[in-house]
Subunit: 240 residues, 2 copies
C-alpha cells in the first residue's frame, strides 16, 4: 500500500521535507492535494470527519490506519521504514532532536516575512519584516547554521552526515534548508557559506543522490515562490 | 538511576512541560540547573564537551547514556516509562502530534512579546508586540484552543482526556497551557473560557492529581514571571 501525503498544493512548504525522504527512498506515495478532489480530502481530516485522530494542519501522512502529523513526527515514522535513520535508539532520538531543531529554524525563517502573524499579507508588515530579518540574519541564522556545522564536525563516523555513517532524513532536511536559504537570502548566504563548509559539501552530495536528482529534475518539484516558507524579497536580505 | 533534567533556572519555561510529567509520575529526577555547578553542566553539553549528541538548547533530559532534546522528544521518551501515554502505536503517534501542536502554540505565545526576535528586550519591541498580540488573541489563540477542545470532544473513550482513557503527558501540557494563558491574558481568557468548557474541566482535574497538587504547592514550582514564555503585560491582553 502506498503512503498518502497530505499537504497544500502550489508550494514546497513544510511538505517538502517529507517529499524529499519519500523521493530519496523511491517510496510509492500519493501527493493527495495534487490529485482530483485532493483539497476536500485534506479538509475532511482537518474538520474531524475522518476519525478522532485529527491533525491541526498539513502536512500529515496516512499509512493504512495510521495518521501522522507534523514533519518531525512523520520523518521519525518513515525513517526506519525507508532506511533513512540509524538503527540504534540513542541515534534515533538524536536524529529526532535535530529534526525538531530544524523545525524551529524553519519557523524562524518563515517569520522573517510574517513577524506580526500569518493572517496579514507581507506587504502589510514589511517594516517589521525588515527589522526581524536583519536580526535573524545577524544572529539567529549563524547560530542555527553553526550548530549544524558543529554537529557534522563532531560526528564520530565522519563529517559527511549529521547522524550515523549514512544519509538520514536529517541530511535531506539540511539539504532543503540550504536550498531554501540560498533562494531567499542569496546575498547573506554568499558571504556566510565560507563559515559552513561541511553543510555546503553535504548539500552538494545530497543533490547528487539518484532519487533526489531525479526528483529535482521532475515536475513534482515545485519551484520556490513567494507563497512558501522560503521567500526571496531582496529588501529582507540585509544584515545589520 | 534518576533522570537528569537540564533547563534554565528561574523560569518555568519549556522545562515545565517535562517537570509536570516527572512530578505527576513521582519519578526521581534531578533539576540540574538548581544544583551546585548546574549552569556549567548545561554549558558543557551545549558546547559539545559531553559527546557528539549535542543539544541546540535546553530543555534536554539525560537518562544514563541517552540524551534527549526538545520537549516533545523528551515526553515521547518518558511517556511509556512513566505510564503517561497509551500503549498503542497509533495513539502514541497521535499524542506526539498533539504535543508538537502544543509546541507550535507555545512558540506563538512566546512571540507575542518578542515578535522581532529574542535578542532585543520586550521594551524595545512593544509596539510590534501589541500588533502581534492583538492578532494572536483574535485569531490564533481561538484556533489552537478550539482545536484542542475538538480533540477532547472527539475522544471515543470520553471527553476527559486528549488521548486514550487515562491522563497522558498531553493532558498535563494542556493544563500548563491553560495555567499560562490565564496568567498572561486574564482578560481575554475570562471571556474566551466559556467556549472551551472541556479544557477548563481538564485543567481543574489535572490540578487535583496528587503529584501535581503536591508539586504546585512546593517550592519547586517557580511562579510565573516576566522572564518566561507566559508573561503578563496588561497592554498586550487586548483583542482587536
Amino acid at each position: 500500500m502506498s503512503y498518502e501525503l497530505y499537504y497544500w498544493d502550489g508550494i514546497q512548504g513544510r511538505g517538502e521535507f517529507v517529499r524529499l525522504a519519500l523521493e530519496d527512498a523511491g517510496a510509492e506515495y500519493q501527493d493527495v492535494a495534487r490529485m482530483s478532489g485532493g483539497s476536500s480530502k485534506i479538509a475532511a481530516f482537518l474538520e474531524g470527519r475522518n476519525g478522532h485522530q485529527r491533525p491541526f494542519a498539513p502536512p500529515f501522512l496516512k499509512d493504512g490506519d495510521i495518521v501522522v502529523s507534523h514533519v518531525a513526527n512523520i520523518l521519525a515514522y518513515l525513517g526506519p521504514r525507508l532506511d533513512l535513520v540509524p538503527a540504534g535508539e540513542a541515534e534515533r532520538i538524536f536524529a529526532h532532536g535535530l529534526q525538531l531543531t530544524i523545525t524551529d529554524f524553519v519557523t524562524e525563517i518563515h517569520d522573517t516575512h510574517h513577524p506580526l502573524g500569518i493572517d496579514d499579507y507581507y506587504e502589510d508588515q514589511k517594516d517589521e519584516a525588515k527589522a526581524r530579518s536583519s536580526r535573524f540574519l545577524s544572529s539567529r541564522l549563524p547560530k542555527f547554521m553553526s550548530y549544524f556545522e558543529a554537529v557534522l564536525s563532531a560526528n564520530p563516523t565522519g563529517t559527511a552526515h549529521a547522524v550515523g555513517s549514512r544519509a538520514s532524513y536529517v541530511d535531506l532536511s539540511l539539504f532543503q534548508v540550504m536550498e531554501g536559504l540560498r533562494y531567499a537570502f542569496p546575498n547573506t548566504m554568499k558571504h556566510f557559506e565560507e563559515e559552513i563548509p561541511l553543510l555546503v559539501s553535504l548539500h552538494g552530495r545530497i543533490g547528487e543522490r539518484a532519487g533526489i536528482r531525479n526528483y529535482l529534475a521532475s515536475e513534482r518539484r515545485i519551484p520556490f515562490n513567494e507563497m512558501g516558507i522560503f521567500r526571496h524579497y531582496p529588501e529582507l536580505d540585509q544584515r545589520d
